[in-house]
């Protein structure tokens, strides 16, 4: 009876009703709260050694303490600056290169094999090299992060500029568009979604590399905070550092998604 009265337009391909915005919120909060309660119980009742797995309250206390003495803000800002600098460096180099390689077949043919060779080398593998080349200073870390973010941005930008639809170029030409107009109104516009996808992938790569770089050679930042906490046997600070990295990444992703929605209004319709 229930299925018979259900509005077909509201069901997805499997015939189930998708969740409303409110229901998704309620379920999301419930799952997080549930896990935190279980966690608190497990450590509070002594099922797990709290030295190895601190309770959420312990982590909360570490949070308050490190906010109070300013170390958390200091470390968050240090990591944030590195990610942003490395990402921007990668972006300003990769986008023009991707445009050139996407538009020029000769340049693309010249660079494609090189890229395929270098691309599989994980950015973490170049950290020792970066330390030798640039020392353990700030630039070294920025460079490693830029290296990690570079390839996703470059490859997506290149794909975007290669995949411009011929029929749309012709449509513009038949309306009197010059080469400049075609580039501005068709090529750039249709490649933009690819560039944005590349930027989002580049940003998540930047985060992975950031932490690795800070774990190995640093005296500030969230990665340093985690590795330093290990020497002090402060698991609560380790968890706090991990949570902050998660929150920072989440925040930057939300920011990029909002930019995407603004620039690509026409996609969602």
């Amino acid at each position: 009876m229930r299925t018979a009265t259900r509005n077909i337009a509201e069901t997805d391909s499997l015939g189930t009703r998708p969740l409303s915005q409110r229901e998704r919120w309620v379920l999301g909060v419930a799952s997080i709260a549930g896990i935190l309660c279980l966690w608190q119980l497990a450590t509070g009742l002594g099922w797990i050694n709290p030295v190895l797995l601190p309770s959420p309250f312990d982590i909360g206390r570490a949070f308050v303490a490190s906010v109070a003495d300013g170390t958390l803000l200091h470390n968050v800002l240090a990591s944030f600056a590195r990610v942003v600098e490395g990402f921007l460096l990668a972006f300003v180099v990769a986008v023009p290169m991707g445009i050139a390689m996407g538009l020029s077949r000769t340049l693309g043919g010249l660079c494609d094999p090189l890229l395929e060779l270098v691309r599989p080398i994980p950015p973490i593998a170049v950290i020792p090299l970066a330390i030798l080349w640039f020392g353990i200073g700030e630039f070294s870390k920025v460079w490693i992060i830029a290296y990690g973010a570079f390839f996703p941005i470059l490859l997506n930008t290149m794909a975007g500029f290669r995949e411009v639809e011929r029929v749309q170029v012709r449509a513009a030409q038949a309306l009197g568009a010059t080469r400049y107009h075609v580039f501005r109104d068709v090529v750039l516009r249709s490649a933009l979604p690819f560039v944005i996808v590349g930027a989002r992938l580049g940003m998540s790569m930047a985060f992975i590399v950031l932490v690795a770089a800070e774990l190995i050679a640093s005296s500030s930042g969230l990665g340093f905070m985690i590795s330093d906490a290990r020497y002090k046997f402060r698991t609560d600070e380790m968890f706090l550092g991990m949570a902050c990295i998660g929150a920072l990444g989440f925040g930057l992703n939300v920011l990029l998604r909002a930019t995407e929605r603004r620039l690509l209004k026409w996609k969602s319709g």
Binding site: V167, A174, K267
Partner: protein
């Protein structure tokens, strides 16, 4: 009230194709095609896949270089695409990142139409294709028939002297197709702009064209030119329409005489 962009009387132009040959690599897809289109004429290019009808249209539009021969619009040789030859594509080819309004005024905007002129142009041409309330929409919010109406309005708003159409209604359902064919005819009869319309549908050619150019494959060439004399307004159920349909169909089947009525085994 009077605006150059809206009120100007439609210009029309004659097209002359002289021994036009197009090659894709070593393959000749269009061989020595000669065709004259009068100013204001409605011509259908009809033929099976691979007969070069779209190639001929693209050559007139200036999208393809000729390997031999010449194409001229009002005696001016074609050497590349231009705004004087408007084009409507089967796949609509709207700019999805522009609103319907921005799509329609794209040509005039490039030529420097002011914001107010753009407004007038959009109002005029969107009303013409019965989409006056859709200016703020993005193309992906519209149905196929609506998108093709926008594409038609976009081409007309640029005031081309020739309208080239590449199977514009091929992707639409039968009912939408018939109503768009009627709308197109109404528009053409209002300003008698030169139209070249590519189709593989005999019925479409019989209903729309003044002149039906029948093309053949291997190599792509013109096989017959048929004057469609059935009177307007045309009625798809009239004897005149059916006899023209049979005549075109026979030419397409490479038989000069009408097919005898036989019962298929």
């Amino acid at each position: 009230m009077a605006s150059d962009f809206v009120q100007a009387k439609a210009k029309t132009a004659a097209i002359s194709v002289r021994s036009a040959t197009v090659r894709y690599g070593p393959r000749e897809v269009l061989t020595a095609v000669t065709l004259d289109v009068r100013a204001g004429e409605f011509v259908c290019l009809l033929g099976p896949s691979g007969c070069g009808k779209t190639t001929l249209l693209n050559a007139i539009a200036g999208f393809l270089p000729l390997a031999g021969g010449e194409i001229a619009v009002d005696r001016v040789p074609v050497c590349g695409p231009g705004g004087d030859r408007g084009m409507v594509f089967q796949e609509y080819a709207l700019f999805p990142w522009f609103t319907v309004f921005e799509n329609v005024v794209y040509g005039p905007r490039l030529r420097g139409a002011s914001r107010a002129e753009q407004r007038r142009i959009a109002d005029h041409y969107l009303a013409l294709v019965k989409l006056d309330k859709y200016g703020h929409c993005y193309p992906n919010q519209l149905s196929g028939g609506q998108r093709q109406r926008v594409a038609l309005a976009r081409a007309l708003a640029n005031q081309p002297s020739i309208l080239l159409m590449d199977e514009p209604f091929g992707a639409l359902d039968a009912m939408t197709r018939e109503s768009l064919q009627q709308e197109l005819l109404d528009l053409w009869q209002a300003d008698r702009r030169t139209c070249i319309f590519v189709t593989h549908s005999v019925g479409e050619a019989a209903f729309l064209a003044e002149t039906v150019v029948v093309m053949k494959t291997q190599p792509g060439r013109i096989d017959a030119v048929i004057a469609n004399t059935s009177p307007r307004p045309r009625d798809r159920t009239s004897d005149a329409y059916f006899s023209m349909y049979r005549k075109i169909d026979a030419a397409l089947r490479d038989q000069r005489e009408p097919v005898p009525q036989t019962v298929a085994a």
